[in-house]
Subunit: 404 residues, 4 copies
Amino acid sequence: MYMTCRKTNGSAKRLTYRTQLLSMLINAYQQIRERTVQLCLPLQTEDYVVQPVVDVSPPKWHLGHSTWFFEAFILKPYLKNYQEFDPDYNYIFNSYYENAGAHVMRTDRGNLSRPTVQEVYHYRQHVDEAMRSVLQHNLSHEVEELVGLGLNHEQQHQELLLTDIKYILGHNPLFPAYKKTVSATDKIADDSWITIPKGIYEIGFKGNGFCFDNELAPHNVWLSEFAIQKSLVTNKEYIEFINDGGYENFRFWHTDGWDWVKGTHHKSPLYWHHIDGKWLKYELSGGLISVVPEDILCHINFYEASAFAAWKGFRLPTEFEWEIAAEQLDWGTRWEWTNSAYLPYPGYTRAEGAIGEYNGKFMVNQMVLRGASLATPSGHSRISYRNFFHPHLQWQFTGIRLAK
Amino acid sequence: MYMTCRKTNGSAKRLTYRTQLLSMLINAYQQIRERTVQLCLPLQTEDYVVQPVVDVSPPKWHLGHSTWFFEAFILKPYLKNYQEFDPDYNYIFNSYYENAGAHVMRTDRGNLSRPTVQEVYHYRQHVDEAMRSVLQHNLSHEVEELVGLGLNHEQQHQELLLTDIKYILGHNPLFPAYKKTVSATDKIADDSWITIPKGIYEIGFKGNGFCFDNELAPHNVWLSEFAIQKSLVTNKEYIEFINDGGYENFRFWHTDGWDWVKGTHHKSPLYWHHIDGKWLKYELSGGLISVVPEDILCHINFYEASAFAAWKGFRLPTEFEWEIAAEQLDWGTRWEWTNSAYLPYPGYTRAEGAIGEYNGKFMVNQMVLRGASLATPSGHSRISYRNFFHPHLQWQFTGIRLAK
Amino acid sequence: MYMTCRKTNGSAKRLTYRTQLLSMLINAYQQIRERTVQLCLPLQTEDYVVQPVVDVSPPKWHLGHSTWFFEAFILKPYLKNYQEFDPDYNYIFNSYYENAGAHVMRTDRGNLSRPTVQEVYHYRQHVDEAMRSVLQHNLSHEVEELVGLGLNHEQQHQELLLTDIKYILGHNPLFPAYKKTVSATDKIADDSWITIPKGIYEIGFKGNGFCFDNELAPHNVWLSEFAIQKSLVTNKEYIEFINDGGYENFRFWHTDGWDWVKGTHHKSPLYWHHIDGKWLKYELSGGLISVVPEDILCHINFYEASAFAAWKGFRLPTEFEWEIAAEQLDWGTRWEWTNSAYLPYPGYTRAEGAIGEYNGKFMVNQMVLRGASLATPSGHSRISYRNFFHPHLQWQFTGIRLAK
Amino acid sequence: MYMTCRKTNGSAKRLTYRTQLLSMLINAYQQIRERTVQLCLPLQTEDYVVQPVVDVSPPKWHLGHSTWFFEAFILKPYLKNYQEFDPDYNYIFNSYYENAGAHVMRTDRGNLSRPTVQEVYHYRQHVDEAMRSVLQHNLSHEVEELVGLGLNHEQQHQELLLTDIKYILGHNPLFPAYKKTVSATDKIADDSWITIPKGIYEIGFKGNGFCFDNELAPHNVWLSEFAIQKSLVTNKEYIEFINDGGYENFRFWHTDGWDWVKGTHHKSPLYWHHIDGKWLKYELSGGLISVVPEDILCHINFYEASAFAAWKGFRLPTEFEWEIAAEQLDWGTRWEWTNSAYLPYPGYTRAEGAIGEYNGKFMVNQMVLRGASLATPSGHSRISYRNFFHPHLQWQFTGIRLAK
């Protein structure tokens, strides 16, 4: 399954969902599935189709893929007499490129004008109807877990829907707004430092609700004393870094980061444009607007975050430092790059079967992000959540928190 | 202007249109513009948007670009008080990438979900209305020539619309048909040879109607005696070439062609699939269907055409041989690769001004194709017509005629 | 300085060298510098020049670069009246590509036929003579540290010399041997497991001698109970993995590793050739010879090591597990891939000045290797040593140790 | 055979050599083979090895390849009991990459440190000795033709040796001179025009000596009246083009040429450097020296030649115009780009057997150059000679002659 998420964020995970009652599950299914559709309402049909870069998926694909999850892992194995909507959708909406049949599909997702958006919505309805039937009958613990996993999976794609829509519209020369309503301003920064004493701390998910398997099992780590900033870095601070030649001085950068700077000629965060001496940026609400210095910085990659921290004389926190300090921090508007590579926890074990089989496969070459962003669905964030991306990627709603 | 055609087929040309009466021009304008819309009727909105490879343009772009031609070269310079539809369309629908302003447009045509299809149709209506006003008033000879050129330009894009739609739908794993009606079968091949004696022959356009400047001026060439086949090569003959290891034997290929074979792993014409021992191909009418051996071969590039001819022990004709023999040939269903490079005729001169300024810029690295194809608009083909493409391209409706 | 090592292995490091007496230093300088020359004796002049891939440097460059280190960091700043050998060598033998002047040097290292090998040896003599003068006079603690660092730097390049010579000769179709003498056979594998109880352990360099700064400072970690194999994986076991379809089954691989397999078409360790049903491999002594099943496997990358471990049902150890178990292990013939990303230790701080300024710049996207290899100079290995490479690289003398 | 020339200049050709006496052939063999060695005398061993770009071959390869020609096409088929020097040289010094065995040779020519230069010279001696034996005995007409072809082939590689040595040394940051003696100054330009009346002219080789098959057979062409400049374009004129923004104005360029300008960022001829407001260039004699305005321009590609001509308001001649006017022109110091694509003459037919089998394979995507250069061996140029290269290549000694 998680191969299907390869262009998105295939957070490998194991279901530990246990106590949610059936009626709650039916409600959750309806609300989460409905929210995906709501997110797409402002789109024109054309917006569903394009894929400007490989890391971005067309909205149409997100709609189909999150639906295919329920069809492939619940309806086909568990619903007797279920009528598959269209066998070709297996190739179009999953990513088992290695499997037989896939040789037909030589093109990228963004080159597929068919199935049409309307057909994909029909597919959603078809699957939702069958899922209602599943949910109203004898629901085994196994299927219950799969439904919970499917819903969390869909929530991840809701966030990706927004980041991908922003990329699609923000790279259109007309800079169309996604919706006109202005989002709430980001919180004012408070640059005080919080100090955490050295000692043994426990890391990992310890509650009763849902978590992904990469958050398990709880385990001890030893931390030296450290200080971490209460708030995230602002546009103003980052503009100082730019103005001080941050993108021209290799001393601040990792070698791979400097190669990225030279290779891509980036000189600012994603979506920023320097026009007539002023910094503008593309926003989902409003299109091309002025950069507000006091707002929290967004859309930088790990290399930029590290270079900024080095320029400032500080460093990024590790994911463990973040988790221990989290309760005292202002967080939730940006995914925060940590200086931790995405690796298995000591107690990490693979789940059995198809769902679990790829759990560890993203655990190389990626960095952990902690927190959550404005685009994260409510109820989908927690202190132990481990997000991860390759260090060159900017298109998520990412920010910087300093440590020392 | 012709830079605008760079991903298509910017047949550079000079207008020699002279005698068409005004009412005919109004009629022609209406019919040709209307035909472009008709060609798009079977499309879904999503089909207008995608661009699977660089040589293919999204249908939406063809609609906009052929409209922009009239706005940029006629309405803005010649129609007083003309209200430009949207200044941004200059960047979106022309191709003066070198000019100021274009730095905003970093994405490819296929990544542009906006303007929407509906907005592009509004653009067409806006321009057509203004053009009606132009056509009904004092039409100078100069504007008359530009209208004629614009209409011929649009006819070229009509053919490209069909080849590009075929590429878009033919590379979709669902292989959707463009329309269900079956096209007339290609003519049965007649493999007799026509012999033309050596001597001095006159080449080039000599009539009174419209031609492009690359067909001018008429001039003499000396030809040795040669023989040319009355009909085009069939699928059956080409399958023999495939079965005889044609794609595995470098002896039949140009060096650059062999590099293409090894680099792309092509083993058959474009749109062909070998499934369960049978040859299938994608067709606009019908989707994925069986290859009919007796049908005329289509969708091979110059390298394949040359390799086939070498395997057969023959050669491709030159464009001059073709033009002299044309009246005795069955032609009109395939563009026929010749062994002539696209170069200026001896009497070739540049037209003055913006329209003419790029006339010669495609005259390197491309090969001449003669004839016309099933996709060529009626009234847009003639014996002196010089089409041209890079030798590796397969997606036009191309065929092979042998000479010796 | 460490930018100069970017194509090699720029183990960033801080000098903690303290107690070595001057006479020992003079001896060490002479022996280590001499050993580099000895390693090159079997080479033909032509072998010094080529660079088959970007990660490999020509032997000539290693000779010059390790010499340039002493010239740039000791002779020029500290030896009064030192006469620079040739100012152009700054561009040729360092890697400050970003600095002024470098624009002249557009070619890769392997395209530089000049300076000649003889000139580079003259350069070495020139620098060694001046260094003798430095070493025999008032040697400040600072310079002493720099000499120690320069010698450790040269030892790293001695290992790279061997790996790069192997790559150069092993990719020559004549498969020339480097020297004819047969190396001692690798130890017979002993596949027993060692179990280490859970608890707090101390990690990092704690001795008095030299270490790099990435080994500092000693700090605690908590480890769960684990078991680790006493010996390394043999060719026999890896051939079983190959024969069982290890390179065809994506389930064993990281996503990035699977992309590597598909993109490079690798089906075996580097230097292996499957000819007439037999596995052969290139060796420095002997050229193309049979793979001995009982020998220890060599030349696999991190992706292959991980996939093998997954196929076997085990995993790779972390670098901390390795360090704690090291005294009970057979190690020293292969660099062993761990499942730890190369990241700073908690106590890691940057050294001051030019030497230290790039210390952290490789700490992203690379994996830690522990142990040492047959190519590691004697006296250059220790239990706390942290080697690191990008996960796709195979050309070091790398092996696999399993954990569970 | 001509596949062997793919990175060089595989002028496909058919031997029409007839009347040369045996003693002359022995002399010619000795002198031509000796001259190749003389050309290499100023080289250091290291210079023989490198290959900075794909179009350039290492001098060592030229030495081996021109020798292999005689071994493969004469000694092995015709000399009884001939002892092959080394079977592996077949893979190393020919270019039948497609054939069995070649899978071993994965690296580029420039990565081969072995065989050593000395071994290649031994190879030459071995083959020359055997060839002497062939030449002194019953020499069939067939073998005689092959010897003549081999010698012409070697002369072509003598020119390539010089162009490739220039590229190797001219891209070294030390800019070493090849030899110190200053070459004779290029002739002073005489910018008068020669006018040729329209009419029927005969083209192609008509003499008794050696020619390549692409010069055959003589045939008529019709030419319009044209004028052609007596002399070639000077550096001074080209600097005016540069200063007038020639490289910034797309109007002067072919579309493919403009893509080359934008993709490579070239702003001047190859080997030119603009340093401190002055134009310098690398020369084989002298290294980096000032550009002399009155000297004849060198090292521009077809795109640059065409753009310059367009800027000047003229055009390049066709190869036929050149051939007819040649006797009145100053030529012989630069290969002159014509506006003719490299295509077969009407009477062109393939030679039988291995030698002739690839004759036509370069006849696509290349432009014809006429004349000869300072690097062309004496006795290897004639008015009907057709040289050809891809239009983006600059490293031959190329110049511009204008026509109108």
